[in-house]
Each structure stands twice: as structure tokens, then as C-alpha cells.
Symmetry: C2
Subunit: 359 residues, 2 copies
């Protein structure tokens, strides 16, 4: 089976699998300009923190390629404008800013490179971000699989799979690795209202890979935990603060509290690009508020009074104290997280691959 | 404004507001036979524990009226068959069995009454069940309003409103009474997947009564509690065991655990007909499993892979230890519940209207 990839860069064109239409329609959206890339991120044609980062990087490549003249000042202005537009698409996932900053470093560090040369360097950097993300996810999978007991029933929320990343997935990367390790796991997927990424994307991805999956509504997770039908929980992350607080899809916090009450391990899986060491705690993470129509309507069908007031935060923050471990591409972090996470910047030996953090 | 009533008995016809189509369509379904009533309950044209009880009682009236002969043995057979059909519609809400048993008592206690006489007695009993339920809800509202602080932000799950009862509502009865008492409350309504009774029914009912309401997805309730935006929770009940365990719409248990974690009062509002003293604990309450299509599709639109396995329990059980108080038409019960509830059978003085249970 061909590995699932939602983002494809081929012959100078960016193709995105339209995640708003899955699993009913498999439509590919081709982006020719950075504006089209920004629109695709905003409208969630592509979503998932690592995937947004990779996509935005290619957005800057498209911006660079649109520069017709060998004029570096013009090129720099264009790239800064594109970066600014792409930055403003979505506020919560830090991978977006991380990828844009990493791309910016190329043009800042190479002020004398000619435009044609810079175009190649930016393309190479975006491809590196893409390929590294895939490799990081496989590493997360290898580390995480060690935490999964044979026969485990695993709950996940939203989609932190191949579709949310350059491929393989973070939370679903761990699940894929455990499945590949023949652990006979079974997954419960929260449908994840309002946009149903669990029902539409996670259930679909797992079925495609023949990993046993049962779909539930978000409201059923607690009941299943009370019935002892869940052995552990794994979710992805959109931003992790220096103290280990995790922003992720709305509903993650509820799942974490329910896990704590039922004494069920709650794991977060994320690559280094999801950590934001510039902020101390989750309180500082901006939470995106999305359109009311996402709740009032489902697939265009009205399901609530048209004039009802709606509250629609796209993310919430789970405090570090509710998180059993954070599975990264560099190993498993265990509480207390602050020292492990600050060490990630320098990639020193605070955390060990197998034993977790022992400051 | 005319009070909202989902069940109307007029000139020997039962009219039900079709709750599967609200709020988009206001369609009335007229039932002429007990089979049609059974179908309306099964398909949730009418839903909500007290409303199901009232509707089933009228179903037996329709059965009685269909008896064309002055033949009591035939009439008795017909009524027993109708009762049996109506009993099998839905398993969890005890009000259904309570109402059917109360109706049965009429024909068992009056074996010598002629058919024509019995028809009148059954109709009078069904109307009494209907009118008493409305009165009980208003009493629940009066008692419950005392628990609501001015300016409270109240979370509710599913619909325990006028639509779920003979009128006024249980949980929404308390909310209506607090609003009438000018307490300036504001309600957050969980949308309540899969059938969206919160989005479709609760939001609509409250808007109709000009009670401020904000719609959220079920997954947002925990986040709101963490942000200190919820002061208390009130839900209805489908069955309450002798120890105070409460079966209610799936997701209620999650809300109760989240409330416990955040130290927010969690109230259940229900009339005496919802108590089932024949069972010791919630473990004995049968939980209805409903069709997978309710989760895979929303309003007929596919939102998940068509072959994905689904788990769809319609209810869960919240243990008594997570319930701050149970608001009944006879006063407010406080833990420990067992003695208060056993006293309900005899309506003795174990509970007092204002001070709760002081055994």
C-alpha cells in the first residue's frame, strides 16, 4: 500500500488532498501562489500542526518562484510579504511560525545569493522540512510503541495522523508503530466536533491501514473509561509551552481530565517543531476562535436555530500535570517537564530515549 | 406567548410535534393507533423520559378506543397487547414503564366496568398523567430555582425541557423558573451528539422564551469549566436507581466527572416518575444501543467512512457520588440518597422542601 501523503511537491507545484471533503470525496487542490496556500491553510484544506508548517514552507517556495527578476531587494520584499500573509492564517499551531522562521533564515543568512540560487535553496529547505517531519514521526512512533501494551484499547481525539503531518503521523504514528509491532491494538476514535476530524480523517486513515477502529462521539469517551474499555490515550499537539502545557484540538482537555479521574495514562505525541520555548505556560497560547457556522451547520445542513449564539474555540490547553508523558522524536519526556523541555533546545542529555527525563 | 407543548390530546387524537425535524421544520405527527404511537417513540418523534411516559399512556387510550365491541375479555387482551408493544419501544427511561403500569392498574382494578366506561377511565387517567407531569415540572422549577444564584452561567446537556415532558421541563423547568425569578441567568447548551437535542431542541426552546443561551459542542464543556465560565450544571434523568445513580443521555457522566474535578455543583432534575425503587444501583439500568447510522450520518449526510465500526450507547449512568443534589417535585434531595429515595415511595418526611434530606 502506498503511504498516505496529504502534501505533495512535484515539478514546482503544491498539491494538497482536500481534507474538508474526506472521506466522501478525494479531491486534490493545486496551489500556484502563496495566497492560495494561505487560503488552503485558513479553510483547513490542509490542517494539523506539522502539516501546516510543511505547507507554509512550500508557500514561501511558491512566493520565491513568482519573482521574475534577478533583483534581491524585490525578492526579499516579496518573501517578507508572503511570510506575513502565511503567518496570519492560523494562530495556535506553532509549527507554522517555526517553519516560516526556518525558511526566513535562508534568505537572511544568504543576503548575497542571487535570486535564482535563493529559489533553489528555499525549495531545498522546504523539502528538508517535509522529509524531516516524516522521519521525526517515524521516530515518535518507535519511541511511543514501547509505551503500548499488547492488546491495548487506545483512545485518540481529532486527527494527528498522516494527514496532519508530512506522513505517518504523531499520535497515529505511535499507533501505526504499535500495530506494525503486532501488538493487536484497537483504537477508539472520538469523532471530534465541530469539524469531525476523528470521524472523517482518523477513522478513514486507520481503516485504510487495516488498524481496528471504532468510532464514538466525543461525549462517549468518559463512559468508555468508566467501563474500563480504554487502556490509554494518545493525542497530538498544536503547541507545547516551556512548562509542558499542551494546546491541542478542543476537547483534548476534557479527555485529559477524564483520564486523570479514571487513572488512565494520557500521552501527547509531537515533534520538536511543536515546542515553543518562548512561552512559559499554556496561558500564553493564543486560542483560535472559528466561525459560528461550523457548529450551527454540518456539511451545509442547518442543525441549530440560525440565530443562536455560538462559542467556537478551536483549541484548548491541557496543563502539564494531566499529561503522563510527551512522546517526541528524541525520546519520551516525563514530568516534571520544564527542565526536559528547556534541554530540548540544546538537545542535551536531560532526557534519555528509554528512561524519560531524569534531571 | 403560548406555552410550548409537544404532546396534544384533542378530540380523541394524539398530535406530536416531530422532534426529529426541529428546529428547521415544525411538523406535527398525528397518531391514530397504538402502533403509530410505538413507532413515534422508537423513532424519537417524541423523546424525553416524562414525555415518553405521557405519550405511551395516550397510546393505551387509542388502543382502548379501537375496541369496537362491548366485550371486556377482548378489551383486556387488546390492552395487554398494546402495553406489551409500547413497553418494547425504548428500554432505559423508566417513566415509560411507570406510565404503562399506572394505566394498567385502571383496567385491573375495574374488572367489571363495561368497555365504554373503561375507555373514559383510561382517557381520564392519561390526561391526569399529562397534567400531573406539567404540574410536577413547575414544582421542580420552584424548588430548583432556589439553588440558582443570580447571574449564574448554567450548563445543560441534551434536552430536559418542555419538549421532553408534558411541558415546562425538568432541567429547563428550573432554568425557566430562575429566569422568571429575574435571576439574569445565562445557559450554555451542549449540542449533544449524536442526535443534537441540545442544538436542535434546547437552544430553540430557550430562544423561544428569550432566555440567553450559547450553543457549544460537547467537547467544549470541560474547557469552559476550566475557564471558570460555568457556575453550575443541571440535567434531566431517564431513570434514577434506589441509591441515587442516574441514567441520562450519553455524555452526562463525562459532564459530571468534569464538574467534580472543577468543584462545580452538578444537579439532576426529575419528577417522582423517574425513580425506580425496584433496582438497587445504576448498574442494573439497561442502556439502549442505537443504530450506527446516527453517528456515521448527520441529517442523512455521510460524515464518516461507511464501513467504520461504531459504538452508540444512547445513555450512560452517573454514580450518585458525583451528584450534588436531585431536584424533585417534592423537594431537593441531598446525599446520601438511599434513605431519601426509599422514603419517596411513601412520601414521608425524610426530605424537606428546603433543607434537603436529613435522615
Amino acid at each position: 500500500m502506498k503511504a498516505l501523503k496529504a502534501i505533495a511537491w512535484e515539478n514546482g507545484k503544491l498539491s494538497l488532498l482536500n481534507q474538508t471533503l474526506l472521506p466522501v470525496q478525494k479531491q486534490t487542490v493545486t496551489c500556484h501562489t502563496y495566497d492560495e496556500v494561505a487560503e488552503a491553510i485558513k479553510t483547513m484544506v490542509v490542517r494539523g500542526a506539522p502539516a501546516i508548517g510543511v505547507t507554509a514552507a512550500y508557500g514561501l517556495v511558491l512566493a520565491a518562484r513568482s519573482c521574475a527578476h534577478e533583483n534581491r531587494p524585490m525578492m526579499n520584499t516579496l518573501l517578507q510579504r508572503a511570510k506575513s500573509v502565511l503567518r496570519q492564517t492560523r494562530p495556535t499551531a506553532v509549527n507554522l511560525f517555526w517553519a516560516l522562521d526556518r525558511m526566513e533564515k535562508i534568505w537572511l543568512d544568504n543576503p548575497d545569493s542571487p535570486v535564482s540560487e535563493l529559489k533553489k535553496m528555499l525549495e531545498a529547505e522546504a523539502i528538508a522540512i517535509d522529509e524531516e517531519d516524516l522521519a521525526r514521526n517515524k521516530s515518535i512512533g518507535r519511541h511511543g510503541s514501547e509505551l503500548i501494551p499488547a492488546g491495548a484499547n487506545i483512545l485518540t481525539h481529532c486527527n494527528a495522523g498522516a494527514l496532519a503531518t508530512a506522513g505517518y503521523g504523531t499520535a497515529l504514528g505511535v499507533i501505526r508503530a504499535a500495530h506494525a509491532d503486532n501488538k493487536k491494538i484497537h483504537v477508539y476514535a472520538d469523532e471530534t466536533r465541530p469539524l469531525l476530524q476523528g470521524a472523517r480523517l482518523t477513522a478513514w486513515e486507520l481503516l485504510e491501514d487495516n488498524i481496528p477502529v471504532t468510532l464514538i462521539t466525543d461525549s462517549m469517551a468518559g463512559y468508555l473509561m468508566g467501563q474500563k474499555k480504554i487502556d490509554l490515550i494518545i493525542v497530538g499537539a498544536d503547541r507545547i509551552a516551556a512548562n509542558g502545557d499542551v494546546a491541542n484540538k478542543i476537547g483534548t482537555y476534557s479527555v485529559a481530565v477524564l483520564a486523570d479521574y479514571h487513572r488512565i495514562p494520557f500521552y501527547v505525541a509531537a515533534p520538536l517543531s511543536t515546542f515553543d520555548l518562548s512561552i512559559a505556560t499554556g496561558n500564553e497560547i493564543p486560542i483560535e476562535q472559528r466561525q459560528h457556522e461550523e457548529i450551527r451547520k454540518i456539511n451545509g445542513v442547518t442543525v441549530a436555530p440560525e440565530n443562536v449564539k455560538v462559542y467556537n474555540p478551536a483549541f484548548d490547553v491541557t496543563p502539564a500535570l494531566l499529561i503522563t508523558a510527551i512522546i517526541t522524536d528524541h525520546g519520551i519526556l516525563k514530568p516534571p517537564y520544564a527542565q526536559c523541555i528547556s534541554a530540548l533546545a540544546g538537545l542535551n542529555q536531560c532526557y534519555t530515549e528509554k528512561k524519560g527525563c531524569t534531571p
